[in-house]
């Protein structure tokens, strides 16, 4: 269960056997601020990859470029070999601040992605109900977002992303506005979902523990301008009890190793 360091330094990544998202030479400037510098990355199908790095290093920017919400100044994004520059049905985004419509019920919020695709009401609400149950919100369909806790709201956001049946789920610090207990529970749910749903997750976080705990792969970004500094595969056996993972030596070693790599940026 030793963590594998795939590479060090900003040399291009060799395309892995089956990658669903390919990022090539992506750069982004905000005015004169260089946010990302020629990012090359592959995201393997069916895996959960975390983007980890110090605040302001461009994690959100990269995720939104992959989502097609921001256009890159240079480089390309390919999903299943097809170049994309706008949002598409094969990707779904989960927002840090949930982005729920306060005037709509949980059910309507979850079904909203399908509503926008013109699916008829009974059909989309049946699908939405299924995923509301799936994320553990059974019985809350008629509630409004302000009647829910932060953790529950994010579950609504997750259910909405699952409902549209996208192959790639993009999550931008989905737990940062959620309290610690809910966060743990949520992380476990995410691991379970990843095994059940056979989807590809790209997950932004600035918590090393969280990244090591839930990821198949961790991409470390350097501070601005964001570049890929390291790719790590924690290889942690998640079939065991979550409590044991948190005490597992390899888990702790990997956390420490990443911390050593990131420490230089903090000082």
């Amino acid at each position: 269960m030793r963590a594998t360091v795939l590479r060090n330094g900003p040399s291009p990544v060799s395309a892995s056997a089956d990658s669903i998202v390919e990022v090539r030479g992506v750069s982004k400037y905000y005015g004169s601020v260089e946010a990302l510098r020629s990012i090359d990355l592959d995201f393997p199908r069916g895996k959960l990859t975390s983007l980890l790095g110090p605040s302001g290093c461009g994690k959100t920017t990269l995720l939104k470029i992959i989502a097609g919400l921001i256009t890159a100044d240079a480089g390309t994004i390919a999903i299943d070999g097809k170049y994309v520059s706008t949002p598409g049905p094969e990707r779904a985004f989960v927002f840090q601040d949930f982005a729920l419509m306060p005037w709509a019920t949980v059910l309507r919020n979850v079904a909203f992605g399908l509503e926008l695709r013109g699916m008829d009401k009974t059909k989309r609400e049946n699908i939405a109900r299924h995923y509301i149950d799936e994320v553990g919100l059974a019985g809350f369909g008629d509630k409004y977002p302000h009647e829910l806790s932060g953790g529950m709201r994010q579950r609504v956001g997750l259910a909405r992303a699952l409902s549209v049946d996208a192959d790639v789920l993009l999550l931008d610090e989905p737990f940062s506005a959620v309290d610690e207990q809910n966060r743990r529970k949520f992380q476990e749910d995410l691991i379970r979902l990843r095994t059940n749903q056979n989807k590809t997750f790209i997950f932004v976080t600035h918590s090393i523990e969280e990244a090591v705990y839930i990821s198949d792969r961790i991409v470390l970004l350097s501070p601005r301008p964001g570049r890929v500094s390291q790719v790590i595969e924690p290889q942690i056996d998640r079939s065991v009890d979550p409590e044991r993972i948190h005490r597992d030596k390899h888990y702790l070693d990997t956390v420490e190793e990443i911390w050593q790599g990131l420490k230089q940026y903090v000082e």
Partner: protein, 250 residues
């Protein structure tokens, strides 16, 4: 309100003022102020006359048309200014000037443009009401969390769906607040317009009453107008409260 250290409820203080009015009126202290009881009697009589009913229909029609136009143009204009920077830069200054300018001064200009008739009244309502609707709508649109718009885009919303299903609804609380203020300003517009044109609706009635010193009827009409303005504001406020509830924790 407090009086000699006692808290006086709203209704009670209103009663006190009514009483003062009655006494001043009976004492003939102020030449143009008949006692309240006389005014109320005049009001009851007035609402039964054909001339009042016709004037009310004319006034309401002008008011409703002017308001409908200012909502129809004001809300889209506010959304445009909230979303498009160039539009905001071009129009922002003018909307701000108009929303705080003494617009009564412009009513004579409206008379020249639209003639001595109902069209001028409609234009006056429009001119008084639209700017605050534009400003509040703009503020509401500016208020929308960017991630809500990104959410709609990321799930493939068409431009039309983005505006009708997300932006319009997200800004609804502010839009309604703007419309409420607009309605109150619109009442001002209809009154000032009619007073200046003076041959349409309530303006004509006011003119007749004041010219013939029929002060009881004059005041009765004023009270009816005030009550109407308050009622309109109250109704909108109730609708707003409902929307605010759903908007919840934004």
């Amino acid at each position: 309100m407090t009086l000699f250290g006692y808290r006086v409820p709203m209704m009670a203080s209103l009663l006190v003022w009514c009483l003062i009015w009655e006494i001043i009126g009976r004492a003939h202290l102020v030449f143009l102020l008949p006692p309240l009881s006389e005014v109320l009697a005049a009001a009851v009589h007035l609402v039964q006359t054909a001339s009042w009913q016709n004037a009310t229909i004319t006034t309401l029609r002008a008011f409703v048309m002017g308001m409908a136009l200012s909502i129809l143009f004001g809300v889209p204009l506010g959304i445009l200014m909230g979303r498009v920077k160039i539009a905001d830069d071009l129009l922002g200054m003018w909307v701000n000037i108009f929303s705080s300018a003494p617009l009564s001064a412009l009513v004579p200009v409206l008379m020249i443009l639209f003639g001595f008739g109902e069209r001028t009244i409609v234009a006056a309502v429009f001119l008084f009401a639209i700017w605050i609707i534009v400003l509040d709508t703009r503020a509401g649109v500016r208020h929308i969390s960017p991630s809500l718009v990104e959410m709609a885009r990321s799930y493939g919303a068409s431009r039309r769906a983005l505006y009708t299903k997300v932006i319009l609804l997200a800004a609804l609380p502010e839009i309604l607040a703007g419309i409420r203020l607009g309605l109150i300003r619109g009442v001002k517009g209809v009154v000032i317009g009619q007073l200046l044109v003076a041959i349409v609706g309530y303006g004509a009635l006011f003119e007749t009453f004041s010219r013939n010193f029929r002060m009881a009827e004059f005041w009765a009409l004023t009270i009816i107008l005030f009550a109407f303005a308050l009622l309109v504001a109250q109704l909108i406020e109730q609708a707003e409260a409902k929307v605010e509830y759903y908007a919840g924790a934004r």
